[in-house]
Subunit: 209 residues, 2 copies
DNA sequence: TGTCAAAGTAATTACTTACTCACATAATGG
DNA sequence: CCATTATGTGAGTAAGTAATTACTTTGACA
């Protein structure tokens, strides 16, 4: 077996760095992840990192792309395998929770990027991910309404917001209890209530302008 | 009218500092709020801050106490004014959203504290707030179940988690769109679905252990 | 009015951060 | 095998951080 070469091509180092950030974020406040910490986990010098990334935000861009690609691919695969829109939504939701259980730092990183003051490229990627996610939700919800499995008056935007909130609520519980297995179990229980809300939501808001 | 004295008692300066942090957090990433920035907003030197707080985390403690006191007092007042448990929940929810609209930095600060690695006093205060909030939710939900306004099989813990998630989802939308008025409007629409979910949730989960 | 402690300043501390640079080493292709 | 280029090192840099310190100002009160 060939020994691991000591100099690796830039592309592989970039992938290594992204992975290092994801794993560091699982146990550290993302804002406190320094280039030194990333380099240390890669067994490189801090300066060597800048052979592969022009700036620290470029690392964050790589991370956000990684998250976006993997998360969207997963929910598309899961949702695509279900014929019933409600089953697709449930698969998306449970798949998302699994993703977070596997990579607990991800929601923290997302939130951290989104609340950065300036308009960094990494922040834009994070926002785009949320938008793409929302679009997929609304598409499936619209299909459900068209097929008549949810009431015609269901407020699709509100349902999408609540869906994302459902994930966030579980993340917050996870942050407090720190138990991934519990998060998955809670997910199913929360889904029951959400699903009931979709099916029973009052039709069209009448009255007040 | 007496001119504002140039030396103020420590207690007043502490209150000023807390207010300064709350307002700074509305437009800045809380992690990036420096003692210099706080002092600047108070029109003081950076060093002067440490006449009133022994350490920076002590400032965060003051902030978390401020949040805890104000938020819990508000939701208790609103919920206490309603006889019907569901009306109480709705008042709590809308009051919470109003609170966030008034102080947009608050949820960001909370999240920032909760994900700090070490066990700082400020972090403990943040977690205690979430726990107290959850306890109030569960108490009202239990009352609703006892009065029969929600099905006897309603999963109260899951309902509380989803309630907190509902708030979080709105915060995330607010983070992306940056429109407080819209957040309040969305809140009512999301509430419709949540409420329907409470009322219609399947009774007791039968089957699998 | 003079005294004195509390409150404020300006400069400085030790430390951390992202990023750079001169130089060394490893991989690769003629 | 040698020359070239990509990758890595170790020691920097400048900018910022929380906290400290020697000294001044302020305000209250005997």
């Amino acid at each position: 077996m060939t020994p691991r070469p000591r100099h690796l091509p830039s592309e592989e180092r970039r992938a290594e760095a992204v992975e290092a950030v994801i794993r560091l974020a699982a146990s550290t406040n993302p804002e406190e992840i320094t280039t030194s910490a990333i380099a240390a986990r890669m067994k490189l010098t801090q300066g060597a990192l800048f052979r592969h990334f022009p700036t620290k935000d470029a690392i964050w861009q790589g991370v956000m792309e990684w998250v976006s690609d993997r998360l969207l691919a997963r929910i598309d695969r899961l949702a695509g395998a279900e014929a019933d829109p409600l089953a697709a939504l449930e698969a998306m939701f449970l798949g998302h929770v699994d993703f977070i259980a596997e990579h607990p730092g991800v929601p923290r990183m997302m939130a951290g990027q989104l609340q950065n003051a300036g308009e960094t490229p990494a922040k834009r990627l994070a926002r785009t991910l949320v938008e793409n996610y929302g679009n997929r939700l609304r598409r499936i919800l619209a299909a459900a309404r068209a097929e008549g499995v949810v009431p015609p008056g269901l407020d699709i935007d509100a349902a999408a917001t609540l869906f994302l909130g459902m994930v966030q609520g579980l993340v917050m519980q996870h942050l407090i209890h720190g138990d991934s297995a519990r998060m998955r179990a809670d997910a199913s229980r929360v889904w029951v209530i959400y699903r009931a809300g979709l099916l029973a939501a009052e039709h069209a808001q009448e009255g007040r302008a």
